[in-house]
Every structure is written in C-alpha cells, then in structure tokens.
C-alpha cells in the first residue's frame, strides 16, 4: 500500500511541476501575443495568471515535502 501511495504521490508531484513549466511558458507567450497585437489584457486576468502559478508552486512544494515524508516513513531508506 505504501509503495502505491508513493507512486501516486510521485505522479501528482510530477504533474504539479509540469503545470509550473507550462504556466511559465504560457505567461511568456501571452506577453508576446499582447505585445504583437498591441491589445492589453484585463488586469484581473493577469492577476489570475500570477495567482495560478503561485498556487501551483505552493502545492508543488507541499507535494514534494509529503513525498519525502512518505519515502522516509516507508522504511525503504533506513
């Protein structure tokens, strides 16, 4: 059971890290589109994008800590 929990936690952590990379790329490309078209985005949407990436980073850190805790408590590495 512990091993499958660790595997699931590993998948979740990888997903969160992937989301951070995609978010960063997305924000960069939105900025590029904004400059190219000279159409400014509403402030609320820019804030939403920043909040989204901030929350993802927080969740990713929590997930990494939880993964470490699972690995340590499993007794695989005495």
């Amino acid at each position: 059971m512990k091993l499958s929990e660790i595997t699931l936690q590993l998948v979740i952590t990888a997903l969160l890290l992937g989301t951070i990379i995609v978010d960063m790329l997305y924000i960069y490309h939105v900025g590029k589109a904004k400059r190219y078209l000279a159409i400014p985005l509403p402030k609320s949407i820019e804030k939403l994008l920043r909040i989204h990436i901030f929350l993802t980073i927080i969740f990713a850190i929590t997930a990494i800590l939880f993964l470490l805790q699972l690995v340590v408590s499993s007794g695989m590495f005495p």
């Binding site: 929990e5 997903l15 989301t19 190219y36 078209l37 985005l41 969740f59």
Partner: protein, 208 residues
C-alpha cells in the same frame, strides 16, 4: 467589452498600413459562446472531482492524497478557464477602410491572421445569419461577406458575434463607400525604403 485599445498608437501602427486608413469596426465573438465553453469545462472538472472522491473511497489511501488530487483537478480547471478566456479575448475582427483582418491567437498553441485587402477584391454580398433559438435570444450571429476574386468566389465569415444586424449594416455601408472612393490605385512596397508607395510614384506614367 472594452475596445479602447483601438485608439492606442501601437494598435494603429500594427493594423493600419496605409496613410489615411481608418478603423471602421472592431468586434469579437459573443461572450455567450465563451460562457458555454466555461460551463462545459466546469462540468468536466466537477465530474473528475466526483470520480476521484469515489475512487479514493474504495482505496485505503491517506486523505491528504485525495485533497491533493482534487486540488490538482481544480488547478488544471482554473488554467483551462483562463486559457479559454484569453483565446476568446485574442480573437478579434478588425475592419478598416483598406482591409478586413481576423486575428486569432491562442498563446503557446497556435495563431492565425487572415487579411482581405478590399481594393483587390469585389464585394458582392453581405449576409447576416442567426443559426438557432439561443442565437436569436442572445442577439448573436454570423456576418458572411462574399468576395468575387479574379480566380474564384470566396466567403469571409465573421462568426458568432454580438449585434450581427448592426455589424452587417455598418459593413455594407463601409464597403459601399469604399467602392465608390476606390480608384484603380495600386500600392507597392518599395524594397529600398521599405515604404508603401503608389505604383505611379515608383513608375511614373511619363517614364513608361
């Protein structure tokens, strides 16, 4: 929706290429189309939350993992909703006295810019169409402009916009005025100066 950006010098510099060219109309897809997509995405997110809740009830995993899974589903859903809005926001139709431009940007995925130079085509029809009951209620519809090109007939569709009747009438008027004002001028980009010039300026009639 606010279209104040059309007055910004950067926007004019980007989309107005000829001297004296003016913006006639700027429009987007109706917000109702966006709302339908958002509702659909929310339903999918709720469905996945329920699925993960039920799955975790069958497996004896820590509740923290369930919370994390639901958090991820909600985060991804929030990302998708933001993407839907930004895609909708960057899909703009711009009509100027010289051209019709459709700009469709989905940052990080794709982009398309379709131009129709009005002095190179002959506009034969401006049709307005609403497709169903919901379109009629929300005052949403398509404006189809048929162009007679030298080689074939082509239709430019301004799809799912608000106030299609008003937009269609404005477009028909603008195209009519343009047709009566347009002479047989031909613009060319001068390769040396990289500036648009009349054909006659580059090759004066006297020299031919």
């Amino acid at each position: 929706m606010n279209y104040d950006f059309v007055f910004s010098p950067d926007f004019k510099k980007r989309f107005l290429s000829l001297p004296g060219e003016m913006i006639v109309l700027t429009t987007r897809t109706h917000a109702f189309a966006l709302v339908m997509q958002i509702i659909f995405a929310l339903f999918i997110a709720i469905f996945f939350c329920i699925i993960s809740y039920v799955a975790f009830n069958f497996i004896d995993f820590s509740p923290f993992l369930l919370a994390e899974s639901i958090a991820i589903i909600l985060l991804v859903a929030a990302g998708i909703l933001t993407k839907l809005f930004i895609d909708w926001y960057f899909h703009v139709y711009i009509v100027t006295t010289h051209k019709i431009v459709e700009v469709f940007f989905t940052p990080l995925f794709s982009h398309a810019i379709n131009d129709v130079l009005l002095d190179q085509v002959r506009c034969t029809e401006v049709d307005v169409r609403t497709n169903n009951f919901l379109d009629e209620i929300c005052n949403m519809g398509d404006v189809i402009i048929t162009f007679d090109r030298p080689t074939h007939q082509d239709a430019f569709t301004i799809a799912s916009i608000a106030n299609p009747d008003m937009v269609g009438a404005t477009l028909a008027d603008a195209l009519d005025v343009l047709r009566s004002n347009t002479s047989n001028e031909l613009w060319m980009r001068n390769k040396k100066t990289n500036r648009l010039q009349l054909m006659e300026e580059i090759f004066p009639r006297a020299s031919i």
